[in-house]
């Protein structure tokens, strides 16, 4: 991916979450079936910088965003989770895009 190509939405959202205070890791939002594990192994071997981890699902009645995060221990996980959600929501409202009908954020690990 060169500098001129704009990042796609999942990549932008993944980066956004990584930069949210209290978030230290983004985990795959999709369930890891065996075939997917091998794909992940290959992908990480070839490109260590972490992929489309935030899911963007387009439905007829709106967009659904799904994210799984790891947070640091020094703050309440609930607080960081809300913060992550709000950051995602703001991304849409501030760019004039329609706000997703659902934003799901799950904390997968603390610390």
């Amino acid at each position: 991916m060169n500098d001129e190509t704009p990042d796609d939405l999942p990549t932008e959202l993944t980066r956004l979450l990584r930069n949210t205070e209290g978030v230290h890791t983004i985990y795959a939002a999709k369930p890891m079936v065996p075939a997917l594990v091998e794909a992940v192994v290959e992908a990480v071997r070839n490109d260590p910088v972490g992929m489309h981890l935030v899911l963007v699902n387009e439905h007829e009645d709106g967009t659904e965003i799904v994210a799984s995060i790891g947070v640091t221990t020094d703050e309440s996980a609930s607080v960081v989770c809300r913060r992550a959600h709000d950051a995602l929501r703001e991304f849409f409202s501030e760019s004039g895009r329609p706000v997703p009908r659902e934003i799901r954020v799950s904390v997968g690990r603390v610390g």
């Binding site: 996980a77 609930s78 929501r89 799950s106 904390v107 603390v110 610390g111």
Partner: protein
């Protein structure tokens, strides 16, 4: 004699020199050894040369694992570049051990927030790790964690080390667990039960308990 091992000038005096095995082949002797010397072969058992060879083969077998261990200790086999492996494992682990979703409230429409059961169990483990002399082995959340406000019990199995005041340590552990969980999520924790596996006992005794 063992400080400066030297190779003898002719290295041909091997116990396994085929010419000197009383007609037995290395293959058949190897087979015999691999079969545990059953059924007993009188011809082999009565041949001094064959016995000598079997003894050598048995010695080699005994030293075999040590070769790999020695290799492992040599620098060539220290694992390198395993950062990405850890990242893979992290991804797999978080998903595989997620368990149920514990809801996190947020008064914004469309927000569906949660923390995984697995994450809370890891928090409990971490509490044990931060305390001296005890180790959380297993942890379970009992109750309907997915319903806000439903009563939840945390069951912990841990092991402790010698010389601790168990009552004091487990009381402190319980309190720290309640605090840590409360910090991160809204759960109606009614009880933290602790079962201690006594590490003074031998393994068999521990299992019988």
């Amino acid at each position: 004699m063992n400080d400066h091992p030297q190779r003898p000038v002719e290295a041909d005096n091997s116990s396994l020199d085929a010419a000197h095995l009383d007609g037995h082949s290395i293959e058949s002797l190897s087979d015999y050894l691999d079969r545990g010397r059953e059924p007993r072969d009188p011809a082999i058992e009565s041949s001094a040369a064959a016995q000598h060879a079997l003894a050598a083969l048995a010695r080699l077998r005994a030293v075999a694992p040590k070769i790999i261990v020695a290799d492992a200790e040599a620098e060539e086999f220290a694992p390198r570049n395993d950062h990405w492996v850890k990242r893979i494992l992290d991804q797999i682990g978080v998903q595989a051990h997620a368990g149920r979703d514990i809801p996190i409230s947020h008064d914004i429409e469309g927000a569906v927030l949660s923390i995984s059961e697995g994450a809370i169990r890891a928090v409990v483990r971490e509490v044990g790790d931060s305390m001296e002399g005890l180790l959380v082995e297993r942890c379970k959340l009992e109750g309907d964690v997915e319903s806000p406000g439903a009563p939840v019990e945390i069951h912990v199995e841990l092991s402790t080390f010698d010389g601790l005041d168990l009552d004091e340590v487990t009381a402190e552990f319980r309190e720290r667990v309640e605090q840590a969980v409360r910090l991160h999520v809204d759960l109606a924790v009614t009880q933290v039960t602790v079962r201690v596996r006594d590490t003074d006992l031998s393994e068999e005794e521990g299992r019988a308990k």
